[in-house]
Symmetry: C2
Subunit: 469 residues, 2 copies
Amino acid sequence: MSEFPSPADLEPNEAASPRDSDRPWQRLEQLADAGDAETLAEYLDSLSAGDQALALSRTDEIHHQLVLTTLAVEDAAELLRHLSESQAAELVESLPAAEAAAIVCEMPSDEQADLLGDLDDNQAAAILEALPRADATAARELAAYSDDEAGGLLVREILRFNRSTTVADVITTLSENADEFRDYDVQYAYLTDDNDRLVGVLPMRNLLFARRSDPVDDIMIANPLALLDSTPLDDLIEFFDIHHFLGVPIVDADGRLLGVVHRNAVDYEATRAAESDFLKSQGIIGGEELRTMPLLQRARRRLSWLSINIVLNIGAAAVIAMYQDTLAQVIALAVFLPIISDMSGCSGNQAVAVSMRELSLGLVRPTEMMRVWLKEASVGLVNGAALGLLVAIVAVVWDGNPYLGLVVGVSLFFNTLIAVSIGGTVPLVLKRFGFDPAVASGPLLTTVTDMCGFFLVLGTATAMLEHLI
Amino acid sequence: MSEFPSPADLEPNEAASPRDSDRPWQRLEQLADAGDAETLAEYLDSLSAGDQALALSRTDEIHHQLVLTTLAVEDAAELLRHLSESQAAELVESLPAAEAAAIVCEMPSDEQADLLGDLDDNQAAAILEALPRADATAARELAAYSDDEAGGLLVREILRFNRSTTVADVITTLSENADEFRDYDVQYAYLTDDNDRLVGVLPMRNLLFARRSDPVDDIMIANPLALLDSTPLDDLIEFFDIHHFLGVPIVDADGRLLGVVHRNAVDYEATRAAESDFLKSQGIIGGEELRTMPLLQRARRRLSWLSINIVLNIGAAAVIAMYQDTLAQVIALAVFLPIISDMSGCSGNQAVAVSMRELSLGLVRPTEMMRVWLKEASVGLVNGAALGLLVAIVAVVWDGNPYLGLVVGVSLFFNTLIAVSIGGTVPLVLKRFGFDPAVASGPLLTTVTDMCGFFLVLGTATAMLEHLI
């Protein structure tokens, strides 16, 4: 990530300019067909990130390939970095491995690893094959880490000096390689001993006040905070919550400096995690879906989730089937079954959301089921009473039979209590046993509350059948 | 935000140390009761951010007050900054205005504004009253901006020099005020003319290579990118997507420099927005809920959402009531109504999630209803056929009547198509007319798909009644 604006970047702000075309993809196709790298790069620069994504999503694979091969490799790499990961992967998949490799070369090491991880295995292998040997080795090492640990988020492009270097040498290196270092995190240099072990951090600012003949050793901060490459994302988020640093050096088990994880990378992953929780809770699992993906892939992914749900649903409906006789005699009950089912689902989902939020803030531990249950039960008593009363009144007004009101009102009261109890505690249980609460809480909740709700309504109705007929 | 680790910060990492107590709140209460500022600060430092939040959430208001007043004001300010905004507001509300003001004074200007915005109006006014006049004026100005525009996110604590200052003067100022500037964004200085208008940005690094007698004018980047104070959050997110800067200077309509918005602040708000979408889609509206909040507040907020849903639900159930006669004759239909309702809701929610994601990535415009509808309809045809077939088989196997299978299978097929069509397009419509898709999509979707599903099942059953009995 480039940390300094160069004069060339600092043209009057184009990003905020109004869209000069309603259909940016048409202009993009024209320019790609014309094959003029410079005009194409200028046009893309004039688009907002959203419009770049939009224009590319509306062009076909041939034009994806044309755009990426027409642009200079560094511009193509820049373009990919503005897109969401799934869209970037889609674009790169249109390219032959050699051309993809040339573009991947221009990306910082953490984004290389991200992109390669999003491609299918064969293509990732082909691109690695086509990279220069040193780059390929580095990319393979990073790709071995997962996205949610420090090793998968670090950048290797850092300022790194031996502790015996002098201030003058550092300043000379900086000024001689100004171009290369533009893309680095240049607020700190990291100092190592002869075995590549991290020994200190040098704030660039300290160079201003130092004698040029001093070794950097004298002005460094010794024993700096560092984290292991295996540090999980949650601990990184927490580290940056507590420490207001822009980056943290990452070392291996022997203390050797591997690179730096920037705050930005951690924030980005935290946002992705929150967005992904939302998608998963709505039944979009197995990766982000874009509507430009092939129909059968989209349908299959959605269906994998739906088919689990329909089986659970049929299980719950079996409860209704057991009580068919009661239902046949008091058909009015059938009107209320979907209300009980939907409303309990709504109440339960609220409790799920609050538990997931408290888990992510650290305000509750996965073992504290009883505490959560007590807090939820109290809300369930209040809301269950309110909703139960409301639905009872509706039943009595509509049907005229107070016993029908009693059955549906009491059932909704108890089922609300059950729904918030399960909704509140299920994410804790899932988390404790290593499952993803965002994916599994919803279906589990719905199944149990449906079954209980149907049992409550139809069971009490059966017991009071003489008053209902 | 402090950008440099000072040696004092750089003790071996305590954040990652294992919890030394299972009940950190008990130790916290003991230390607060003892009233020793230093031991208390040390203990809090030894806790992770999550455990700080946890410990405070488990102590009562008296201890909140004790902790905040025992700590040195800068430590208290630091503590508040680690907590979520709703929890920080809860803590500050336990304090008398004068003591709260002393702590607020120590926070950076953007976080002051955030915190004051989260307090109730009377207390915010009382704290403003108790602040030193200059701080109060500044805080009032920032508080006038909303959280989702540049003015509400900017920090005023920046390095700012007149363009005629010499390099030597800048270096002297930096070294003389090293302590104060530790908390600033010290990668750039911002240069203004005699009317406070922004004229340039000075990367600190350039100081290394400059002659000390030069005016900073000579080594600054002229005409830097800057954004207006009214720039909305979405445009800021986009700006930082495109430009790999750590901050952007913010100017008023006359070009006067107001402060800087940091990338961190924008990333933080982006994460909050994603989390808030998740909470709202699950029915947690009107602000984040923590289980430490008063019961009636929690119950009331959740109920406000549930009561809208139950009214919509009753509306949909009225469709069933219309067809009671059919239902009474073919009671098996009652078993399938909740399945049709739930499954259509699931399919529709998937489409809602994909639309919201595409809207946030800019991959679809709110006007492109037809495009989204075509993409969804194709998935709906595939998944509707699969689910319809499955439920038809279940019906036939269970009931033995192929016509029952036909009714429920065909109904689920068409209702899946309807659900994805509505789910995909409703977020676009809501967004286009200025409503929040995260809040309103779910209930609208459920109501319409329930009504259509019940009509389809019971309407076709009525038409084919002779085959079903």
